[in-house]
Symmetry: C2
Subunit: 230 residues, 2 copies
């Protein structure tokens, strides 16, 4: 492989969204709300809300805006419709303060020694910047769906990342814990690495151990660094 | 000031373009070419070539592309028209490998402890990423004219930076060694900091010691960190 740059999905691949969101739900809404169920339901709105943007049913809206709209619905559904505005704002920002998986920072630091490392996430730019500062994620730069006005898995996101990094798609390795993201990246000519994150969706959820179509499947970003001789 | 983020002009403000380009000219074209004059002439093409893009006379072209077009003219003018393709490519990449001024890395590290720090440069994204890796510049992210399809001092660049960082313009401090860049940033509502870089344009060139219209004028990024209590 003639890889020059690694681009990373972030939610679930680099950071643990479920534990982080659930902890903030408990802190801000109290023990009366089932925090794990709330986090799962919030994440459950993710794909449908982006799909409305992708199909042109809704004008471009950054992920913070989508998170806020689905939060307002969920607070009603979970029986806490009187949640004040400042708490809603802080809940949306829970997604800016997610912790990395234990291997993420070391893995990224090692990978960065040989390759350009960047996000390629549906999170908006300010979210990704806040998250990197919170978790010490050593990105060379932040690439986001927001820069292209399209959400993954739209082709514009993968094509735009290669263009901005000034490499051909085959020189980019897309790293993700999600089969559909990797399939879309391959469809645009990128190389792919699957990361197995068995705990992403909480206990008892089946997650594929590997992606037979990917160039490499690993259990952590440290293992990816080892496989790429970093 | 309620400043949340600092955005930096790069060429001349954070890195020493003239010495870096001149050294590469000497290395790649030999002692027969006046390297300082060549660097000055190359930089002299910078504003006119961007202005053609800004006025719609030329479709969007990244800075690498503008540098290459002006390089081809200059190699003829300086009497080295037979310079081979691989040397031309490497000369364009000299702008990716410029060294920081001696205070830049320490200043940025200190400023980053309190503020988001990002480029806001006419350099293309891959140039700014390469330069940060070369010089150890600790950006939270790279913001570039390329993301907006407009060159500074077009309003779209300043407005776009605030939008991507999710702050109002008055929460952004634009840092630059150039009065026109700061004036344009103020015109879009940003706060401004002038950095005096007396050596940017080589010996004997008059450079303003301060900008009376700026919120602060300093002699280095370390001094800026001190002034902002970092």
């Amino acid at each position: 492989m003639d890889v020059r740059a690694l681009v990373f999905d972030v939610f679930g691949t680099v950071v643990d969204w479920r534990s982080g969101v659930a902890a903030e739900v408990t802190r801000l809404l109290g023990p009366g709300v089932d925090a794990g169920a709330f986090a799962d339901a919030w994440r459950g709105h993710y794909l449908p809300s982006m799909d409305r943007v992708r199909r042109g049913k809704r004008p471009w809206t950054g992920l913070d805006g989508l998170h806020r709209a689905s939060l307002d619905e969920l607070l009603d559904e979970f029986g806490v419709p009187a949640t004040p505005e400042d708490v809603r704002v802080e809940l949306v920002h829970a997604w800016h303060r997610l912790d990395p998986w234990p291997d993420s920072v070391e893995g990224l630091q090692r990978l960065r020694s040989r390759f350009v490392v960047a996000t390629l996430s549906n999170g908006n730019v300010s979210l990704l910047v806040d998250m990197a500062r919170h978790g010490g994620l050593p990105w060379d730069t932040v690439l986001s769906a927001e820069l292209f006005g399209h959400y993954k898995p739209d082709a514009e996101v993968y094509d735009g990342a290669a263009r901005l990094l000034d490499v051909v798609p085959g020189q980019v390795l897309m790293v993700a814990a999600h089969l559909d993201d990797l399939a879309a990246a391959r469809g645009r000519g990128m190389r792919t690495a699957y990361v197995h994150r068995p705990d992403e969706k909480g206990p008892g959820t089946a997650i594929a151990e590997s992606d037979p179509a990917a160039d490499v499947s690993v259990g952590s970003l440290v293992e990816l660094a080892e496989r790429l001789a970093c």
